[in-house]
Amino acid sequence: QLTDRFEKFVRNLRGQGKLTEKNVQDTVRQVRRIMLEADVSLPAAKAFVKTIQEKSLGQDVLKSITPGQQMVKIIHDELAAFLGGQAEPIRFGKSPSTILMVGLNGAGKTTTCAKLALHLKRSGRQPLLVAADTKRPAAIEQLVLLGKQLDIPVFTSDDKNPVRIAKDARKHAQKESLDCIIIDSAGRMHVDGELMDELKRLQSIANPPETLLVVDGMTGQDAVRSAKAFSERIDITGLILTKLDGDARGGAALSIRWITDKPIKFVGVGEKPADLDAFHPDRMAGRILG
């Protein structure tokens, strides 16, 4: 357990009045190791460790707990703070308000669109799902089937241009008095210039108050690179981390939050439409620390 690991490293702190630079040094090296093992991107891990170092230095070693336990508390609290406050709600503009879902191939966008639609329907809204992935084989069929299962309308078009689809979908939502639009976009590499340009055009036409970057929960070091690239090219307003029903430590949560400074709004915890949870920074901190 985490506390035992730190006990080994801070055993020499016992009997000392303060956490000093020298005795914190070994401990923060261990923190960095734990972060890396939990798949936190290196730059994010370095930044976090630096914060821990500053926070720990000069603190009085409390009488009631061991120095190891104290370090763990500092680390846990600081990690939860880094991960952001309690989950922020979805941002809406005037009806029909658009939510644009973006991210790398296979991250879980299409499945998450359905989950989000169900969540919004249950909270009293009238969502419209928009099948704007004209690239992946049977992507449209996938979203249509999910919509059917949930009794939620899905806008489809024979048009190959996702930007035009978004335009037509908005008209359709207005005509049908639906109050929110969830656009499923095609998975894409952040290094694919053409596809990133297309996404920029899609965002500018759809004009969504909310653009959510969907990230696979088992992403490792690449999390900072891809999140940075997406957020530099388009305006990301929030993050969703998927597949957290597995045993991945989920360090990507810290990486993407750190590099974008945007809130993680939801986490995907399964393949079914109901498997969408609000993000809890405290729980995520515990999971990352193992």
């Binding site: 190791r33 890396l36 093992e37 939990a38 798949d39 991107s41 290196l42 790398l104 191939n105 296979g106 991250a107 879980g108 690239k135 992946r136 084989p137 049977a138 992507a139 069929e141 996938q142 249509v144 089937l145 999910l146 299962q149 590499m189 952040h190 290094v191 696979d216 088992m218 992403t219 490792g220 070091q221 690449d222 999390a223 690179r225 891809s226 690239a229 597949k243 029903d245 597995g246 045993d247 991945a248 430590r249 360090g251 990507a252 393949e271």
Partner: protein
């Protein structure tokens, strides 16, 4: 350019270490590699002009090219003595977590071996996910493969059984079995996968001849947990790393090979049917130090 440098001081060690860590090679392996590097560099002959980067590369290439490691009981690597297509049909089972690229890779494999004159059949054993069959129908067509499918919700083992029988009856060369994505921590889903492997073995005790774990290059250290989990229920002969056309380096294959002896057989470099290439350790390792 730093990697061309011939010296090994504290700064260059950190730079090399960072490159390895950011490639998802994992702290333990990186620690070992750096220790080995320091020893080797200190004891190197004066005439040997190898830079520290070159030394690291050669160690990595040695690990990645090791095909003589017979892995564990559950991993039977294709040794130089086992030739592909020495059985008819040659059976490849594709396994892996959700969204890693299995279905796309099934089509690519059919296309790849089609160029070598092999007749392929694809078994649509993902009978669960929305529009999975519609998706693989397109990929089978692109890969020039015959598709064996049943209706949604059918038992995957029964589809595998049908596929084997018809492939054998028609004397086709290659049977590629695509399975549903699943997380290795889900016991019932892993048991379902084990059943698919067993059903193939019933027809031919040497089948499946290849069990390839399809891993997304962005995967962090959870890739090792995936490898352990999947090989323990379905056996394992190798890996396919997909999405290497991004910025992720796929370094988790190093600890996987190191611990389980599973070599990388192919890499995926895009969404096109011809974006599958046999693994080249040298190219892979060079990319880590780009």
């Amino acid at each position: 350019a730093i990697f061309k440098s011939g010296k090994l001081d504290e700064d260059s060690i950190e730079e090399l270490e960072d490159a390895l860590l950011e490639a998802d090679i994992g702290v333990s392996i990186v620690d070992d590699l750096i220790e080995k590097l320091k020893d080797e560099f200190a004891n190197r002959k004066k005439d040997k002009n190898l830079s520290p980067a070159e030394i690291l590369k050669s160690h990595l290439i040695t690990i990645l090219n090791n095909r003589h490691h017979t892995g564990t009981e559950s991993c039977q690597v294709l040794t130089p003595n086992t030739t592909r297509f020495s059985h008819k049909p040659w059976v490849i089972l594709l396994v892996g977590v959700n969204g890693s690229g299995k279905t796309t890779t099934a089509g690519k494999l059919a296309y790849y071996y089609g160029l070598q004159g092999k007749k392929s059949v694809i078994a649509a054993c993902d009978t669960f996910r929305a529009a999975a069959v519609e998706q693989i129908e397109v990929w089978a067509q692109r890969g020039g493969a015959r598709l064996v499918k049943q209706k949604s919700g059918a038992d995957p083992a029964s589809v595998a059984y049908d596929a084997y029988k018809s492939t054998q009856a028609r004397s086709e060369d290659l049977l590629i079995v695509d399975t549903a994505g699943r997380l290795q921590s889900k016991r019932n889903l892993m048991e379902e996968l084990g059943k698919v492997a067993r059903v193939l073995r019933k027809h031919d005790p040497t089948a499946p001849h290849e069990v390839l774990l399809v891993i997304d290059a962005t995967t962090g250290q959870n890739g090792l947990s995936q490898a352990r989990g999947f090989t323990s229920v379905a056996g394992g002969t190798g890996l396919i790393i997909t999405k290497l056309d991004g910025t992720a380096r796929g370094g988790v294959v190093v600890p996987i090979q190191s611990e389980l002896g599973l070599p990388v057989e192919f890499i995926g470099l895009g969404e096109g049917v011809d974006d599958l290439h046999p693994f080249d350790a040298k190219v892979f390792v060079n990319a880590i130090f780009e």
